[in-house]
């Protein structure tokens, strides 16, 4: 309607946002650790393994009430994750306890070993002849799984925050 007024209002808006931006930079800056971790993420790159994408996450895909046939449960301490790639699929059941997670899962199409990788390190567990694996006391945070099958095939899952 009144373009001259709009232009001046726009200048005022920019000035106010500039003040707000300075405020955020002063009182809520990006923590150094966040920047350092982001840079270090590059070192986690795997060029040798196929990526298994997260195709199902009960924390996202289930509604507020989880209804799955007769085994319907409201138990939020258990979370189901499924990863898939061409060669194999990985199903994981995550149980939460204070500060740590237990993983029980099944790799279809491979046995061998499974690495649980976190920001702090890696633990290796066997995948039995039926494809099952179990890992306890995984620290809460960002995690991925790396499967090395007996025939040497390597698959890495997407990172998930547990």
């Amino acid at each position: 309607m009144n373009e001259a007024r709009d232009e001046i209002a726009e200048v005022h808006d920019e000035a106010l946002l500039e003040r707000l931006r300075a405020l955020a930079a002063q009182a809520d800056p990006v923590p150094d650790l966040v920047l350092e971790s982001a840079k270090a993420a590059f070192l986690m790159r795997r060029l040798d393994a196929e990526l298994a994408e997260l195709v199902l996450d009960s924390a996202v895909d289930a509604g507020p009430v989880l209804v799955r046939g007769a085994t319907s449960t409201d138990d939020d301490s258990v979370r189901m994750l499924s990863f898939e790639t061409g060669a194999l699929s990985i199903e994981v059941q995550v149980t939460r306890a204070d500060g740590s997670r237990s993983l029980v899962g099944m790799v279809s199409g491979a046995s061998g070993t499974l690495d649980v990788e976190t920001a702090d390190g890696r633990r290796t567990v066997p995948i039995d002849s039926l494809g099952r694996f179990a890992v306890a006391d995984v620290p809460a945070g960002t995690v991925r799984l790396h499967v090395v099958a007996e025939d040497g095939t390597a698959v890495t899952t997407s990172w998930v925050s547990l």
């Binding site: 931006r21 955020a24 923590p31």
Partner: protein, 195 residues
């Protein structure tokens, strides 16, 4: 507002760590502001941002349109935040229908005590009193370096054409709240009730 990320992405995909660091420096501020805009605490915000960067690392070889990187990053961190919020909503049902918390949590993104100037603290208080949608939009716009509207649209899943008008409406509202709090935050816009 930064160069086209295509060249940096190509270099990073080829193994150039300096290019990767440049991408991180450019966009971590935006990702942090988005997580904080969703009222995530420090640890959860750090997790959401880190998960986003790790997702990019694992997809470095498979990016079809590098110019859309900022939108992809913003979308990825938003989804991660909403997932974490949905989860905490189910654990402690104190959230409204948007999946956004109704009450300020104990992890206020900005600590007014850190702001020495009273007028800054007043502005900060006014921001906290904003309706959730407005507060979220403004917090994302507060990112350093300033995000483009395309990045903001991706961060909030809003049509790009609505960002400008919504921004104007929210900033007007912020002014009114701040003025009611006795804090003159900047000269009133012309025509806005002069003498």
């Amino acid at each position: 507002m930064g160069e086209d990320p295509s060249a940096l992405l190509a270099a990073a995909a080829a193994g150039d760590g300096a290019a990767w660091n440049a991408i991180v420096e450019q966009y971590t501020g935006l990702l942090w502001s988005i997580a904080r805009g969703y009222r995530m605490g420090t640890a959860d915000s750090a997790d959401a941002v880190q998960t986003t960067w790790l997702r990019l690392v694992e997809n470095l070889d498979r990016i079809d349109d590098p110019s859309r990187l900022p939108g992809w990053l913003a979308t990825t961190v938003r989804r991660e935040c909403l997932r974490m919020l949905r989860r905490s909503k189910r654990e402690q049902p104190s959230f409204d229908d948007d999946g956004l918390p109704e009450l300020p949590d104990d992890s206020e993104p900005l600590d007014a005590a850190l702001l020495v100037e009273e007028r800054d603290a007043a502005l900060w208080r006014a921001l906290q009193q904003m309706p959730e949608r407005c507060r979220l939009l403004i917090r994302v716009l507060m990112a350093t370096p300033p995000p483009s509207y395309a990045e903001v649209a991706a961060a909030l899943d809003m049509p790009i054409g609505s960002i400008g008008p919504t921004r104007q409406r929210c900033l007007d509202r912020l002014r009114r709240i701040a003025e009611a709090d006795g804090a003159l935050i900047d000269p009133a816009p012309p025509g806005g009730g002069g003498k």
